[in-house]
Amino acid sequence: MLFKIVFSQIKQKLLVTLMLLIAMIALVSLYVYIKNTSQFTNRSMELIMKDMGHNYNLISKDCKKIDSYLINNNQVYFPISQSDLLLKERKMPSKYYVAMQQERLVVQNTEIILSGIKPLGGNFESPEKRNLLDAVKRNEVRLGADIAKSLNLKTSDTINIEGKTFKVATIIPYNGDIDDYRVWANIEDTWEVLGNKDSINILLAFLCMHGTNLENLLVQQQILLKATTPNLQQIIKMPIAKGRDKARQSTNKTLINLFYIISLITIIVISVTGLYEVHERRREIGIMLSMGTSYLKIIAVFLIRILLLAIIASIIGFFIGSFLSIWITSSFLETNTQNISIIWSDFPTALGLTSLFAIIAQLIPVIKMLSLDPVRILVED
């Protein structure tokens, strides 16, 4: 009988119920749409940021930064074993490093930067958490675009550097910076060619920097570094990380405010509709009470109906919001760690929160109903 009453009431007030449902769907869709879009944007930003390269570099304390920037002969070498200290320090925000020996050379009248690398750190945890550079095989090189062009080299050609022959494994697309002049090789090979075995002149790392306060984090980082490897100094390129952090914060703040606004609107819409309904149905409620129906049963009718609407609204709203966000962002956003697709893990939250707010909102008309005196209603007219 309870469900019969619920469905008969819906049928009787189909238009009002439908309007309420549509309003609820719109609110859920809007929230899901904006949440997904900002999540996809955030992930996409992460990829863009990584494409910009290493943003946290460590050099010897005795080296002037400008010498490192210019990659000249005044660069100061330090033992590669320094990186072990960093890897062991669990508090370091980066778990991956690339040890590099870099020197400027002239090969066939062309200036190159020979860059011997060795990726350090555990196994790659995920596509996101990993070194930005892969190891280069022994006796092979990867060429920057400008070098390949100047020396007229293609993949599989060979190049002789200081008496050692290398095979060209890859040619890296234009980057628009000094990397276009690099010849990437295995560090064992560059030690062979350049000497200074077991020493490097720069350690490359990457910091995501999703802390609450970026400035604070950098200071902490400095202190930590001093304690771990006092012989090194840090060079931080932060604008991108800062930009990403700001974007992340602004979406988070927008989302939380949007969440409050949408929740408030949902509660108001449901409460007002519910109050109107209690008023419209006061005689029916009165007669039911006068026949001996418990308040509990009458409340149940109200709550079951709104719960039903909430479930339908969250399902439909979830799909509309998801599809809308996918449709709009998939054409221009690129992500790596998360596909632009339905985020199923958000569904239980959408369902739970919509139901919760619907019930909370419906409590207002329910309380109003509890104040109804059946006699008063039935004898007032």
Binding site: M1, R283, M288, S290, M291, G292, P374
Partner: protein, 211 residues
């Protein structure tokens, strides 16, 4: 089965107090039709609402069987009312979105009888609305609606039947049908209390109480 002990009800207002019922004690016999009579404003409806457990008297008690109606919690009172009392309003108050069948069935579900097909068709047959069971209240005439309301109030077989002006809106013919049923219901052993102005209803009363 139903008894009033020293009932008093005063409607208190900021300026004036209206004494609707003053120290009234009554007991009733099974199978009798009791008519409450009196001029307008004499407190007839007030008395009936108190009898039906819907209006708390200022002093005095109402008993349904051994139950002191206003001494029990409102939750228990609701439950008692569902099994003890059938109440007919002058304006029937059928539930608009339920059809005739479900309107009659509703009080039965309150006492745990979820599928009382036989009982309902019996009742509907008796009051001549058997062919209208699937209709909604608004599709019925006033007389038919009042008959459905009567059906609903006696569906549970409540020992006590209270009716406030049950023929107030009806023409002669419909009044007669209704009066006959009320008479039968009393003969079946109910305690019947009717508030009325209608002389034809007065005629069938075994006892007339003047307020």
């Amino acid at each position: 089965m139903i008894r009033f002990d020293n009932l008093t009800k005063i409607y208190k207002d900021s300026n004036t107090d209206v004494v609707a019922i003053n120290d009234l004690s009554l007991s009733f016999k099974q199978g009798e039709i009791n008519i409450i009579h009196g001029k307008s404003g004499s407190g007839k409806s007030t008395l009936l609402l108190m009898a039906g457990g819907m209006l708390k008297p200022d002093t005095g008690y109402v008993y349904w069987g051994d139950n002191n109606v206003y001494k029990t919690s409102s939750l228990k009172r609701n439950r008692l009312r569902a099994s003890y009392v059938g109440f007919m309003f002058q304006r029937f108050y059928l539930i608009p979105y339920l059809n005739v069948y479900d309107n009659i069935r509703y009080p039965l579900t309150l006492v745990g009888n979820e599928n009382p097909k036989k009982r309902i068709s019996e009742l509907a047959e008796r009051i001549g609305i058997a062919h209208r069971l699937t209709h909604k209240p608004h599709q019925l005439s006033i007389g038919e609606q009042q008959r459905v309301a009567l059906c609903r109030s006696i569906a549970n077989n409540p020992p006590i039947l209270l009716a406030d002006e049950p023929t107030g809106n009806l023409d002669v013919e419909n009044s007669k049908i209704l009066i006959d049923i009320l008479k039968e219901e009393a003969q079946n052993g109910r305690y019947v209390i009717i508030v009325t102005h209608d002389d034809r209803v007065l005629e069938i009363g075994n006892r007339v109480i003047h307020l």
